[in-house]
């Protein structure tokens, strides 16, 4: 413990350092969990997110009591706002509002693995490539998984489409059925207003090794300080093995999608 404390730098808020120590993960002597999540990196990330979460976006959270204090669960929600600010705010809400704090572990886009610095940052903060093997292993270890079934198509929504939902993949539902994991739906509001995308350049994205580059009315993908909301719904439990026919799984996915749409609509009434 003394060893890990010595490594935490001035970049870390002391309150956050104490909260990170209370995350129930099997930290090793060098402050790393078996997946490579590093205490120091999480503390640094949460210190940065705290500014955005508490002061810049003044995030309003509801229903966080639906997220279990421990044990496996999947947070399933909507994307918008060009650069996945919403994922950061969901992670911050689980870290700052839950007792004990929990680390929501996202399933990142595969391209991130090849991007220097981003790949290391993502791994140290518990955000892994969206491979089924990773998801199953994390869930079997009782982790809190965060999945955006719209993927990059979700963050690529233009301002006028910000509260719509594009097609959901079905992989998350098969994983939930296979591992017997409850789904906690959530709706994020405000991300599309914070970073209103008016155009996505896919050719520029290809040049940078990312899916696309979003442009705002002020060109750069820099968010403005609008209030955001993260609203969690009651857990949804589905029975099955994960080997069901597509129509059956699609039916379950549609129910989750409807619940998320309702949470987004409700969230707007609370802003």
């Amino acid at each position: 413990m003394r060893y890990v404390r010595a490594r935490v730098t001035l970049l870390v808020d002391s309150e956050i350092e104490r909260r990170v120590a209370r995350i129930e993960l099997p930290w090793s002597q060098v402050g790393v969990d078996p997946y490579g999540v590093e205490k120091t990196a999480v503390a640094r990330m949460m210190t940065a997110l705290k500014l955005l979460y508490r002061h810049y976006f003044r995030v309003k959270v509801s229903g966080v009591e639906h997220v279990p204090a421990r044990g496996r669960a999947m947070l399933i929600g909507n994307h918008s706002g060009g650069v996945a600010i919403d994922a950061g705010m969901v992670m911050a809400s689980c870290f700052f509002e839950l007792e004990p704090p929990r680390l929501a572990q996202g399933m990142a886009e595969k391209f991130i693995e090849n991007v220097p610095f981003a790949s290391t940052w993502a791994a140290r903060c518990g955000q892994f490539t969206g491979l089924p093997e990773h998801a199953v292993r994390l869930l079997n270890d009782g982790r809190l998984l965060m999945v955006f079934p719209e993927g990059a198509r979700g963050t690529a929504k233009l301002f006028t489409q910000r509260d719509s939902l594009v097609d959901f993949g079905t992989g998350f539902m098969r994983l939930a059925l296979q591992t017997g994991t409850p789904i906690i739906p959530f709706g994020v509001v405000g991300a599309g207003e914070a970073l209103p995308t008016v155009y996505n350049s896919y050719s520029l994205g290809k040049a940078f090794g990312v899916p696309y580059v979003p442009f705002t009315p002020w060109l750069l993908p820099v968010p403005v300080p609008v209030q955001m909301g993260v609203h969690f719904g009651e857990p949804m439990v589905f029975e099955g093995t994960g080997r069901e026919d597509d129509e059956v799984v699609r039916g379950h996915v549609d129910r989750v999608k409807e619940r998320i749409a309702a949470l987004i609509a409700w969230g707007h009434t609370q802003q």
Binding site: S28, G36, E113, R137
Partner: protein, 308 residues
């Protein structure tokens, strides 16, 4: 029990031989490098495992168990000779085992079998194929040797075959791929990447081998101990200096300016982790590591200080 160890001259094989001899097993070794100061109760034959003289050792000693450790990494030998040693040697050892009625053969392989790549799962299990050979062709001979050994499970069902895919070792002998990589004062890394490394202290490595011999698990098993550690922490805790370089610069500087010599393909292993799930081996043998990752790194640091 009589145990024959091809490749007995490596530091870890010597530790293993000494451990077996100390508990009363009969130990016979084959290694062309010899072992001049071997313990009195360890019989060493300074012959090449691929030559006829080695076959004589099999025929005369009639071992109960063969633990095949006569493989080399890409650091040690050039490509053609490495193929002859790793694949040709493994083929010969398994042929002799079948011919001379060896009951149990243990192949000591490496976890790098699975390869490193951006789309690989973090934890590898035994039934996965080697996926990243294209980016690291220097591993092909070891992968081929591993697959040849694994084939013995159905090719020679009369023998019990145990294929072990060990993670790196680290400790006071300074032997092994990871130890060789962090041996110098400055350790190069690929800027922007910090992969996890999984290693086992040499004493635990030997304990795992001992359990494999005693429990005779049949099949292919990953072997690992403490949880993995980011390369940056390995470098720091072994007292070395990290030198992050952009990938093209690193590729050009390898083997120069005091930096270690590694194959081009190994750069992928400095970007992406190769981590194994060793739960099957633990379940089959009851193996549990005794020495944690910090102690292993500090043991290496103490054995190879840089005068800091």
């Amino acid at each position: 029990m009589k145990v024959l160890i091809p490749g007995i001259s490596t530091p870890i094989a010597r530790m293993f031989a000494a451990r077996l001899a100390a508990r009363g097993d009969q130990v016979v070794g084959i290694d062309r490098r010899g072992w001049p100061d071997a313990p009195a109760n360890v019989e060493v034959h300074a012959v090449d495992v691929r030559k006829r003289a080695a076959e004589d050792v099999f025929r005369k000693s009639r071992p109960d168990v063969v633990v095949h450790m006569a493989t080399v990494s890409h650091f040690a030998e050039a490509t053609e000779e490495r193929y002859r040693i790793n694949l040709g040697g493994t083929q010969t050892v398994f042929e002799h085992c079948a011919t001379y009625g060896v009951g149990h053969v243990v192949f000591v392989g490496r976890h790098t079998f699975y390869g490193a790549g951006p789309e690989s799962p973090l934890y590898h299990v035994e039934d996965e194929p080697p996926l990243a050979l294209a980016s690291f062709p220097e591993l092909a001979d070891l992968v081929a040797a591993d697959l040849h050994a694994s084939n013995a499970l159905w090719r020679a069902p009369q023998m019990t075959t145990t294929v072990l895919r060990f993670c790196y070792s680290l400790g006071s002998t300074g032997h092994g791929t990871l130890a060789g990589f962090v041996r110098g004062r400055r350790v190069p890394t690929v800027m922007g990447f910090d992969p996890l490394f999984q290693f086992l202290h040499e004493e635990d490595f030997v304990s795992a081998l001992e359990l494999a011999v005693d429990k005779r698990p049949r099949g292919v098993f990953n072997v690992a101990g403490p949880p993995p550690v980011p390369l940056s922490i390995v470098i720091r805790e072994t007292g070395r200096t990290r030198v992050p370089l952009p990938e093209p610069v690193l590729a050009a500087m390898l083997g120069r300016f005091g930096l270690p010599r590694i194959a081009r393909g190994a750069i992928e292993h400095l970007k992406f982790p190769v981590i194994v799930d060793a739960s099957a081996f633990r379940a089959a043998t009851g193996f549990a590591h005794r020495i944690d990752e910090l102690t292993a790194m500090h043991a290496f640091r103490a054995a190879f200080p840089l005068g800091d």
